[in-house]
Subunit: 337 residues, 2 copies
């Protein structure tokens, strides 16, 4: 690559580098004649701005980092899309990082984003809010938690009330007459999981005679769900739950696959099943899946918006916790028998 810089463009157009820069950034300040000459030179030489140099001077990049738990989960790609929409309005790009529910990868992305001097970071964090995040913020990178409430007010966040969602799901199962509920989800380190479980516990407590057991999984994927389903199938019939609440739709679909394909268990006849997130595929499942809907794209959109406000306000920003309410969507998988 023959490196073409503003210097070469300036020479070709017979102007100074300062003028080239002005044409690029404030064409109004340059005479139309010169603008034309410089643009011709740019086109002729095939000049492409070097973003690294630009950022170095500017001090900040024009992108926002987004770390999600799993890019293969449609819920998070929807969040990303919403974030991208809002970011695009400001001419910012979204850098998408995939922590794969792993602390090491999460940290690796945070390091990367910090080195890139991103405008800010949106993250659906694992486990406790480690000091990695606190340090990040203290060093000047605005941070907004996504799909997770900030318990301690030290962070801004955009989330959905997961306790309420868990309550909705379990209450619904109980209300269609199920009594042996199982919560499928994990690992316990993920806040969304524990919150949804907490909500479910609350609902169960209000329904005398209804029990809730926990079947822990290693991740929130279809595969993990299938394994959980197999564990259920391995039990004698009398010890199986009569309803399953899965911590997300991927798990639920995995459970459904296991019950349907390897077992003779009927959904919802023998076991009712409800998931969480209401991804597009839930409605199209073997047995259309009941779920708890979250406004995914709106979460992303709002999170970027909040991030921009926080960045603009600087230091003394009053952190804001935005909480959306989840919504129960009933489909065949929890129809009364």
């Amino acid at each position: 690559m023959s490196s073409i810089s503003v210097r070469e463009v300036a020479a070709e157009a017979g102007v100074s580098v300062g003028t080239v820069s002005n044409v690029l950034n404030r064409p109004g300040k340059v005479s139309p004649d010169t603008v034309a000459r410089v643009q011709a030179a740019i086109a002729h030489l095939g000049f492409v701005r070097n973003d690294a140099a630009r950022q170095l001077r500017a001090g900040r990049s024009r992108s926002i980092g987004l770390v999600v738990l799993d890019v293969a989960n449609p819920f998070f790609t929807d969040v990303a899309r919403g974030a991208e929409d809002r970011a695009a309005e400001e001419g910012l790009a979204i850098l998408l990082g995939n922590s794969d529910e792993t602390i090491d990868r999460e940290n690796a992305y945070l390091d990367l984003f910090e080195e890139q001097r991103v405008h800010g970071v949106l993250i659906s964090p694992l486990g406790d809010l480690g000091d990695r995040l606190t340090r990040l913020r203290e060093r000047g990178t605005p941070t907004v938690l996504v799909d997770r409430q900030a318990e301690d007010r030290r962070f801004s966040s955009v989330a959905v009330d997961d306790v309420a969602g868990g309550y909705l799901a379990a209450d619904h199962l109980a209300s269609i007459g199920r009594v042996r509920l199982a919560f499928v989800g994990g690992p316990a380190g993920i806040r969304q999981v524990t919150d949804r479980l907490e909500g479910a516990r609350k609902a169960v407590a209000e329904h005398p005679g209804v029990s809730l057991e926990v079947i822990e999984t290693e991740s929130l994927t279809v595969l993990a769900g299938r394994e959980a389903g197999e564990r259920i199938l391995a039990r004698p019939e009398s010890e199986r739950p009569d309803a399953v609440f899965a911590a997300n739709d991927l798990l639920a679909m995995g459970v459904l696959q296991a019950l349907n394909m390897f077992g003779d268990v009927r959904v919802p006849g023998d076991i009712a099943l409800i998931g969480y997130d209401d991804i597009a595929f839930a409605a199209a499942a073997v047995v259309p899946l009941s779920s708890i809907r979250q406004p995914s794209a709106l979460i992303g959109y709002t999170a970027v918006d909040l991030l921009l406000r926080e960045a603009a306000a600087g230091e003394g920003f009053e952190h804001e916790q935005i909480v959306f309410q989840p919504e129960l969507v009933v489909r065949a998988s929890t129809m009364p028998r």
Copy 2:
């Protein structure tokens, strides 16, 4: 953000900036004692490398751009995952761009990636290989086409034989006795769509008495599929196809939803249905979906690998076209009646 640079670190540790840089990049060349002192200073001051400055000096960034047609399509997130795996082995990051089947967005990402001086670009391009891509390459950014064969040998590519895949699908439908096939897909500008259709045409030509019509869609999404399904339902029963080959699984699931939810058409009884890509959700659909499997993660992995080889070889690289073979996966949606 109090800007901490190598200069401050050097001062704190009582060494020169050159030494700090050496600690960062070649710790072996620095005495253990000094390394320790510098690292202590780094930790104490909370120094974070400025990647922009680094890139500026290096001339190239440590990332690879990937432009896909649709991030919400699990096929592409699988490709991205494969690409990420190979890139990570070299300490490179993947920047994921979503063209949403739009030329403007595709170009915007290419511009962005070029300004970032990415190591190279992987792209599943729309329409013809415009000169945007040619110029990109001429200016020194290695480019590899993904999920699309390079017809003219001017580009390297990693793809699956879409004509063969289309043939497999249509041949399968004909072989289970269907005679009025419909191809659902579009827009015609997308190469994958036209290739798959071409393969289907070839198969149909070999089966006397079997016809093939084309039902064009505006995009390759579940929604577009649902619309196509509704168009089929709107016809009198006698004019409906008895088999549908959808250009990808998202479309197929949309068609399935329309037929199942709004109509009284049975799949596969009245209409057999086959998709393309074999995404994880295909197996879990209302009616488990037959599909044409592509080795998605492997495509991404191989594409990065090829890109790296091309980048290493420099100018005179012999472009390589890698073609994988697709595979027919038969499930309930095309079981003989």
